[in-house]
C-alpha cells in the first residue's frame, strides 16, 4: 500500500477530529489502526509466499510441485523465497511483540492483557463459544460479542504460537549445525515434522476456517474490508460487536472512534488485494488437499 496515500487518509482522519461528520452513507468507526492493518498486510503477503513455497517442498512429489519449482527456478529459488518471506515475517512478529511490550510496560496501557479489549481469552469467551453453538442449533440467542470474539482470539493465538513454533523449527533447520550445539540429535529430525505439520495446519486453517469465519460468511461476504480500510459502518459495528458498541456508547467514547468513509481508491485497492489473497489461498488449499489425499 503506498505510504504517502495512506498517510493522507490518516491525516484526513486526524483533521476531522472530534467533530467528524457522518457521510452520506452513514457513520464509520475505526476498528484497526494503521499499524495493525500494515501488520496484517505483511502477515498475509508473507504467509501466502511461505505457503506457496512451502507446499511444493512438503508435497514435492505431487504433479504441480515440480512444475511450479521448475517455473520459478528449481528448489534453490523456492527455498530462497521461503527464507526471504520468513525473515520479513520474523521482523514483523518481533515488531509486534515490541509494540505489545511498549504498550503494556512502558506506556502502562490498560487492557492489553485483560479486560474487554485484550486478546487474552476470558470467561466470556467460553460462554460466547457455548452460546454461539447453541445459537447455531437454534437453542438460544446470538451472543453479544465484545471487541474481539473468541474465534478472532483463536485466530490471533494460532498465528502467534504458529509463528513461534514454525519459526523456531524453521530456523533450527536453516542453521542446523548451530542448533545442534544445544539440541539433541533426534530433535533435528523432529523439527521437520513439527515445521511441516504445523505449517500444514496453519495453511488449512487460514485458507478454510479463517477465510470463511472472517470473510466468506454471510455477514461479511464476500470480503470483510475492515482489516484493509480500518473502518466499518455503524450498522456493521452494532451487528457484529453489539457489546463493544454498547460499552463505547455507555462510556461516551463512541464519538472518539468515528472515522471517515474509506475513499473509493482504498476500497477498490483493498478489494483487488483481498480477492487476490483469497483466490491464491483457495487455490493453494485445493492443491494441498489434492496432494494430501492422493
Amino acid at each position: 500500500m503506498p505510504e504517502v496515500e495512506m498517510a493522507a487518509v490518516e491525516a484526513a482522519q486526524e483533521q476531522s477530529g472530534a467533530t467528524r461528520t457522518p457521510n452520506a452513507a452513514g457513520r464509520y468507526f475505526v476498528r484497526f489502526t494503521r499499524e495493525q492493518r500494515y501488520l496484517h498486510a505483511v502477515l498475509f503477503t508473507t504467509f501466502l509466499g511461505l505457503a506457496a513455497t512451502g507446499l511444493p517442498m512438503r508435497f514435492s512429489e505431487s504433479f504441480w510441485a515440480r512444475k511450479f519449482a521448475a517455473g520459478v527456478g528449481g528448489f534453490g529459488a523456492i527455498l530462497f523465497f521461503h527464507k526471504f518471506c520468513a525473515l520479513v515475517l520474523t521482523i514483523a512478529f518481533l515488531i509486534h511483540v515490541k509494540d505489545l511490550f511498549v504498550r503494556a510496560f512502558m506506556d502502562h496501557e490498560k487492557g492489553v492483557f485483560w479486560g474487554p479489549t485484550s486478546m487474552v481469552a476470558n470467561w466470556k469467551d467460553v460462554k460466547d463459544l457455548l452460546g454461539h453453538m447453541r445459537w447455531f442449533l437454534g437453542l438460544g440467542p446470538r451472543p453479544q460479542f465484545e471487541r474481539y470474539a473468541y474465534w478472532e482470539k483463536f485466530d490471533y493465538w494460532a498465528v502467534f504460537w504458529g509463528m513461534v513454533i514454525i519459526g523456531f523449527s524453521g530456523y533450527a533447520m536453516w542453521f542446523a549445525p548451530f542448533f545442534a550445539h544445544f539440541l539433541p540429535g533426534w530433535a533435528l529430525n523432529a523439527v521437520l515434522v513439527i515445521h511441516s505439520e504445523e505449517g500444514l495446519l496453519a495453511i488449512l486453517f487460514i485458507f478454510s476456517i479463517h477465510f470463511v469465519n472472517t470473510h466468506l460468511r454471510p455477514d461479511s461476504f464476500p470480503i470483510d474490508m475492515v482489516v484493509f480500510t480500518g473502518v466499518e459502518s455503524e450498522e456493521e459495528f452494532k451487528l457484529k460487536r453489539p457489546m463493544e458498541y454498547a460499552r463505547m456508547k455507555a462510556e461516551g467514547k463512541l464519538e472518539k472512534r468515528l472515522g471517515i468513509a474509506p475513499p473509493l481508491w482504498l476500497t477498490n485497492f483493498s478489494r483487488v488485494v483481498g480477492f487476490l489473497a483469497v483466490f491464491i489461498g483457495l487455490t493453494l488449499l485445493v492443491l494441498t488437499l489434492s496432494a494430501y489425499f492422493s
Partner: protein
C-alpha cells in the same frame, strides 16, 4: 538415403568374392617365389576390372529386378579391395558375356575368422545381416581406421543405428531403439560432438563380429561381465566397485546386486553430476532398498531433492559412496561413525558430533526405533486433526445458521448484513 543404400547393399552384396579370397589367404602361407608368380598372375585380373567397368560404370545400370549393378570405379580402386579384380569376389564370372544370374558373393572365403565369429552371434543370419549391412557398399569398403569406413569409430553408432533406432530393423524383432539413447548420452556426446575416438561406441562394449545376447554368460554385456567391460576404460571405478558390497555380491554370482548399467543405464548414460541423473537415480537405489528409500523420502533431503534445481541435496551416494558402497561398520565407509562429521560436513559447514546424530533415515512411524519423533508426529497429527475437525463443524453450522437468519430477515432476497 541411408536406408535406400542399405537395401541395395543387402540385395546386391549377399555374396562378394569367390576365387580371389582363397588366393589372397593362400599368399600368407606360400613360399615367396611361388607368391611372386601368383602376384604376376593377378595383373591380367586387374585389367579385367577395367573391362567390367566398361559396362558397370554406367550409374543407371540395373539388373532385371531393378537393383543397381553400377560400380564407381574410382571409389572401388581407392577402397580396401581396390587391388583385387572383380572375379576375385564374383568368382563364377569367367568371361564376357556372363550369365544374367550370378552367385552371391561369399566374404568368408577370405574373411573366415570374422565369418566364424559372426556365426555364433546375434547377427548370425546372413540374410538379415549381410556383411554389407555394417561395412557399407561392397565396392566401397575402407579399413576401419579410415574416416570413410562405415565402421570407423565415429561412424559406428550411425551404422548400428541404421537398424537399432526408431523404425529400424531391430524393431521387427522387438528390440529397443537404443541409438537415440546412446547419441544423447555422455559417450555419444563425446563421440559425435567432440570427436573423441576413445569415447565408447557400440562395439567398445558389444564387440563387432561376435556380438552375443546380454543373456549369454559369455557376452561382454552379461550382467556379471559388465563391470569388467566398463572397466576397460573406467579402470579405477571398476577397482573401487569390486571393493564395495555390490561388487562383492556380483563376484559371488548374486545377480540381484547392481552393476554399472543398473544405475547409469546402458545407453542413455548421463554425466552423474547432472540434475536429471541425480533426480532419476535415487529411486533406482530404492528399487532394492525399499525401506531405506521410504524413510529417506520423509526427510528434507528428499523433499527438496525431488523438486530439482540448481542447489543440490544429499542423495544416496552422496553419503554412502557411489561405486565402493561399504557397510556402516567398515572403517572406510563414509557413513562409519568416525567419518560422519566429515561426510555431513561436505555440505553442512560446521557439522559437529551432535549434528551428525541426525538420522537421515528416521522413521516417525516407528515407535521403538524413534520414540521421540514418533510422539512428536503423533502430537502434531492429533493437534491438526482436532483443531480442524472442531472448526470445520463449527464453521459449517455457523454458515447454515447465518444464511437461515439472513433469509428470514430479508425475505428470499438475502441481504448484506442479516
Amino acid at each position: 538415403m541411408a536406408t535406400a543404400e542399405m537395401k541395395w547393399n543387402r540385395d546386391q552384396g549377399s555374396g562378394i568374392g569367390r576365387t580371389k579370397g582363397s588366393t589372397i589367404r593362400g599368399l600368407k602361407r606360400i613360399p615367396l617365389p611361388v607368391a611372386a608368380v601368383l602376384v604376376l598372375a593377378l595383373v591380367p585380373m586387374q585389367a579385367r576390372a577395367q573391362d567390367c567397368l566398361t559396362c558397370h560404370s554406367d550409374a543407371s545400370m540395373t539388373d532385371a529386378s531393378g537393383h543397381s549393378i553400377a560400380v564407381d570405379g574410382q571409389k572401388f580402386s581407392a577402397s580396401v579391395h581396390g587391388s583385387l579384380g572383380c572375379n576375385a569376389c564374383h568368382a563364377d564370372i569367367k568371361g564376357y558375356p556372363h550369365p544374367d544370374k550370378i552367385a552371391p558373393v561369399d566374404c568368408s572365403t577370405c574373411h573366415a575368422d570374422q565369418a566364424a565369429q559372426l556365426q555364433g552371434s546375434v547377427h548370425a543370419d546372413s540374410k538379415e545381416h549381410p556383411c554389407t549391412s555394417c561395412h557399407g557398399n561392397a565396392h566401397e569398403i575402407f579399413p576401419k581406421t579410415d574416416v570413410r569406413s562405415a565402421v570407423y569409430p565415429l561412424n559406428v553408432p550411425k551404422t548400428c543405428g541404421n537398424c537399432h533406432s526408431n523404425g529400424g530393423m531391430a524393431g521387427k524383432h522387438g528390440l529397443p531403439s537404443v541409438y537415440p539413447n546412446y547419441i544423447d548420452s555422455i559417450h555419444g556426446f563425446a563421440l559425435s560432438k567432440e570427436g573423441l575416438l576413445v569415447a565408447a561406441n557400440c562395439q567398445s562394449c558389444h564387440g563387432s563380429h561376435h556380438i552375443l545376447s546380454h543373456n549369454n554368460p559369455q557376452s561382454a554385456t552379461y550382467k556379471t561381465n559388465i563391470p569388467k567391460t566398463c572397466g576397460i576404460c573406467h579402470a579405477k571405478i571398476d577397482a573401487d566397485y569390486e571393493q564395495g558390497v555390490h561388487g562383492k555380491e556380483i563376484a559371488k554370482g548374486d545377480l540381484s546386486a547392481p552393476v554399472c548399467t543398473d544405475c547409469h543405464t546402458a545407453h542413455a548414460i548421463l554425466q552423474p553430476t547432472e540434475a536429471v541423473f541425480r533426480m532419476q537415480s535415487t529411486p533406482i537405489c530404492g528399487n532394492c532398498h525399499k525401506d531405506r528409500f521410504s524413510t529417506y523420502r520423509d526427510t528434507f533431503h528428499s523433499q527438496l531433492g525431488s523438486l530439482g534445481g540448481y542447489v543440490e541435496t544429499a542423495r544416496c551416494w552422496d553419503c554412502h559412496g557411489a561405486h565402493d558402497v561399504r557397510p556402516a561398520g567398515d572403517p572406510e565407509s563414509p557413513i562409519n561413525k568416525a567419518n560422519l562429521v566429515t561426510t555431513c560436513g561436505r555440505c553442512h559447514a560446521g557439522a559437529n558430533l551432535s549434528f551428525v546424530q541426525y538420522q537421515p533415515h528416521a522413521n516417525a512411524r516407528d515407535r521403538k526405533l524413534n520414540p521421540g519423533l514418533y510422539f512428536v508426529r503423533l502430537f502434531m497429527n492429533l493437534l491438526l486433526i482436532s483443531v480442524l475437525t472442531f472448526f470445520v463443524i463449527h464453521t459449517i453450522l455457523w454458515l447454515i445458521r447465518s444464511r437461515y437468519n439472513q433469509l428470514k430477515a430479508k425475505g428470499a432476497n438475502g441481504g448484506k448484513h442479516a
